[in-house]
C-alpha cells in the first residue's frame, strides 16, 4: 500500500443482528481528500466510522487505516460526532470540552497548566471559537458547539478527520461557515476529511469525491460520476432520478 492511501477497505462485509450492513465493500481514500459520505439512514455510515475507529471489527475483509489495522484510542484519527443539545446548566466551559480531546481519557483530576491552555487556545482560534472560550457550553448555539467538537478532534493533530453529520440542524449560513472552516483546515493541516451529510449541495464546492452508501453497497467517485440517475438507480435497486438545476442537485425517488 503506497504512502498516499490513508484508508482502504477490501471486501469488507459487516453483519450485525442478522442484517448485512456492508456487503463486500471496496474503496480507498488518499491523503488530503475531502470525501462526502451520503446515503439513507441505516445504510452503514455510522458503522463505517465505527470500523475506522476500531470500535467494530468486520465480519469479513480487511481494513487499513494509515498502514495499520484500526485500533481504539488512535490519536491520528479525529472524530467529531453530531453536536447534541446540551443542557443549559452544565458546569463546563467551551475550553473544557475542547480540552477533553487532549487528555480526557487520562486518569486523574488533571489540573490545568499554561502549556495545556495555550494548546487549547490555539485550536480554538483556528476554529474561530476563541471569543467564547470561557462561556458555559450550554449557552452556545448549535453551530458554536459543532465548532468546539471540531476543535476537540483537531487538538491531537490528527491525520484523518471523521465528522458525523456536522451540518444537520444548522441553518444554511452556519453550515456554509462550517464547510469553509473545514476546507481551510484541510488545506492548512493537510488532513483527510470524511464527512457524513444528508445534503450534497452545500458540499459540492468543497468535496472532491463522494462515497455513496445504500443497501450494503457503496459507490465512490466524483460528484459528477456518482450522483447520476444511472449510478444511484443501480445502488438503490429502484428508479432514482437526479435533476440538476443551476448549481443545485436534487435526488428524486430515494431518501438521501
Amino acid at each position: 500500500m503506497d504512502q498516499k492511501t490513508v484508508i482502504s477497505l477490501d471486501g469488507v462485509t459487516v453483519e450485525l443482528g442478522g442484517r448485512t450492513i456492508f456487503d463486500a465493500v471496496n474503496f480507498s481514500v488518499e491523503k488530503g481528500e475531502f470525501v462526502a459520505i451520503l446515503g439513507p439512514n441505516g445504510a452503514g455510515k455510522t458503522t463505517l466510522f465505527k470500523l475506522l475507529l476500531g470500535l467494530l471489527k468486520p465480519t469479513k475483509g480487511e481494513i487499513n487505516v494509515l498502514g495499520a489495522v484500526p485500533h481504539r484510542g488512535d490519536g491520528n484519527i479525529g472524530y467529531a460526532p453530531q453536536h447534541r443539545v446540551l443542557e443549559t446548566d452544565l458546569a463546563l466551559r467551551a475550553r473544557d470540552v475542547v480540552g477533553f480531546g487532549l487528555d480526557g481519557n487520562k486518569w486523574g483530576i488533571g489540573f490545568g497548566s499554561k502549556k495545556r491552555d495555550a494548546m487549547i487556545d490555539a485550536v480554538l482560534k483556528e476554529v474561530d471559537a476563541y471569543q467564547f472560550a470561557d462561556a458555559p457550553v450550554g449557552h452556545l448555539s448549535g453551530g458554536e458547539q459543532q465548532r468546539l467538537l471540531i476543535a476537540q478532534a483537531l487538538i491531537t493533530d490528527p491525520k484523518i478527520l471523521l465528522l458525523d453529520e456536522p451540518l444537520s440542524n444548522l441553518d444554511i449560513s452556519h453550515a456554509q461557515e462550517i464547510i469553509a472552516l473545514l476546507t481551510e483546515i484541510s488545506k492548512h493541516r493537510s488532513v483527510t476529511i470524511m464527512l457524513v451529510s444528508h445534503d450534497i449541495n452545500p458540499l459540492l464546492p468543497a468535496a472532491n469525491r463522494v462515497l455513496y452508501m445504500a443497501h450494503g453497497h457503496s459507490a465512490m467517485g466524483t460528484p459528477d460520476e456518482i450522483i447520476t440517475s444511472a449510478t444511484l438507480s443501480k445502488l438503490y435497486d429502484t428508479k432514482v432520478e437526479v435533476i440538476r438545476s443551476g448549481d443545485h442537485v436534487f435526488v428524486v425517488g430515494a431518501e438521501i
Binding site: R84, V85, L86, E87
Partner: protein, 286 residues
C-alpha cells in the same frame, strides 16, 4: 372463630374497601395522563408535599386530608404554571420534594415524639380511615371524575401533541393547571391508602403497565382501572388475612404487574416504541 366474612362486615373494613376502590379508580385514570405527560416524578414529589400538609394539619388539629390537599394543590398549581417546562426538571422537583419532607419532619417532631405515627403516615393507614374521610373522598373522587370526563378529549390531545393542540386553539396552559389540580387531589387521597411514599404504586404503576399492553387510550384506561382496583382489593384482603401492611402488598403487586406487562408488551410487539418517550432527555447517559 372469626371468618373472613365476619371480618368484612366490620365497618372499618367496609370503609377501607369503599374508599380504596374509589381512590384506585380515580388514581388509575389520572395516572394514565401522568404517564402520558411524563410527570411521574412530579406526582411522586406532590405526595411528599402532602406529607408536610398532613403533619401541619395534625399540629394545628384539622383534618389530615384537608391539610394534604391544601398543600398539594398549592404546589401543583405552581407546577402547572410552569407548564411544559416540567419536563426534565428533576433537580427542581427533587429540591421541592426534599424541602417539603424536611418541613414534615419538623412538624411531626413538634406534634409527637412517636416514631410509629410517623411511619404510619409514610406508609399508609387505609384501615383506619374515618367515615368523614370517606365522605370527603367520595366527594373529591366523583368531582375529579366529572371534571376529567369534561376535559378528556382536549387533555388527551394536548398531552400527546402539545404544539399542534395549541395551534388548534386548545388552551394547553389552562388544561395543564386544571390537570395538576386534579392530580393534587388524587395524590392526597392516594396517600390515605398507601402512604406518602408509595403513591407511585397506585397512580403510576397501573397506567404504566396498561400502556405497555395497548396503545388505544380507552383500552389503556380501562386496563389501568382494572389493575388498580385489583391491586387494592388483593392488597386489602391479603393484609387482612396475614396482617402484613396493605401498602406492601399493593406495591409488590404493582411492581410485579408492571414488569410482567413490559414482558408481555415486548412479546406482542417486538419492535414497537413506547407511547411516551421523553423529549428533552437527549443528554441522559445513565
Amino acid at each position: 372463630m372469626i371468618t373472613l366474612v365476619d371480618l368484612l362486615r366490620q365497618s372499618f373494613i367496609e370503609n377501607a374497601f369503599v374508599a380504596g376502590t374509589l381512590i384506585a379508580i380515580v388514581s388509575a385514570i389520572v395516572g394514565y395522563f401522568v404517564v402520558l405527560r411524563a410527570q411521574a416524578f412530579a406526582a411522586h414529589a406532590l405526595s411528599h408535599v402532602g406529607f408536610a400538609g398532613a403533619t401541619l394539619a395534625a399540629l394545628v388539629g384539622i383534618s389530615g386530608l384537608l391539610g394534604m390537599s391544601g398543600f398539594t394543590v398549592a404546589a401543583a398549581l405552581g407546577m402547572g404554571a410552569l407548564g411544559k417546562r416540567i419536563h426534565g426538571r428533576d433537580v427542581e422537583i427533587g429540591m421541592i420534594l426534599s424541602f417539603a419532607l424536611g418541613l414534615g419532619v419538623l412538624f411531626l417532631r413538634l406534634y409527637t415524639n412517636s416514631s410509629s405515627e410517623t411511619v404510619s403516615v409514610l406508609f399508609g393507614s387505609i384501615l383506619s380511615v374515618t367515615h368523614t374521610d370517606i365522605l370527603l373522598t367520595l366527594f373529591f373522587g366523583i368531582g375529579t371524575l366529572v371534571v376529567l370526563a369534561a376535559i378528556f378529549r382536549p387533555l388527551l390531545f394536548s398531552s400527546i401533541d402539545p404544539e399542534v393542540a395549541e395551534a388548534r386553539g386548545v388552551p394547553i396552559k389552562l388544561l395543564s393547571i386544571v390537570f395538576m389540580f386534579l392530580l393534587a387531589i388524587t395524590v392526597a387521597e392516594a396517600i390515605q391508602v398507601v402512604g406518602v411514599l408509595l403513591v407511585f404504586a397506585l397512580i403510576v404503576a397501573p397506567a404504566a403497565a396498561a400502556q405497555h399492553l395497548t396503545r388505544k387510550p380507552f383500552s389503556a384506561i380501562a386496563i389501568s382501572v382494572a389493575l388498580g382496583v385489583a391491586f387494592t382489593w388483593a392488597g386489602l384482603l391479603l393484609a387482612l388475612a396475614t396482617s402484613w401492611p396493605v401498602s406492601f402488598y399493593i406495591a409488590a403487586l404493582a411492581a410485579l404487574t408492571y414488569f410482567a406487562a413490559i414482558k408481555i408488551g415486548h412479546f406482542m410487539r417486538p419492535h414497537a416504541r413506547a407511547v411516551h418517550e421523553h423529549p428533552g432527555r437527549e443528554t441522559r447517559v445513565g
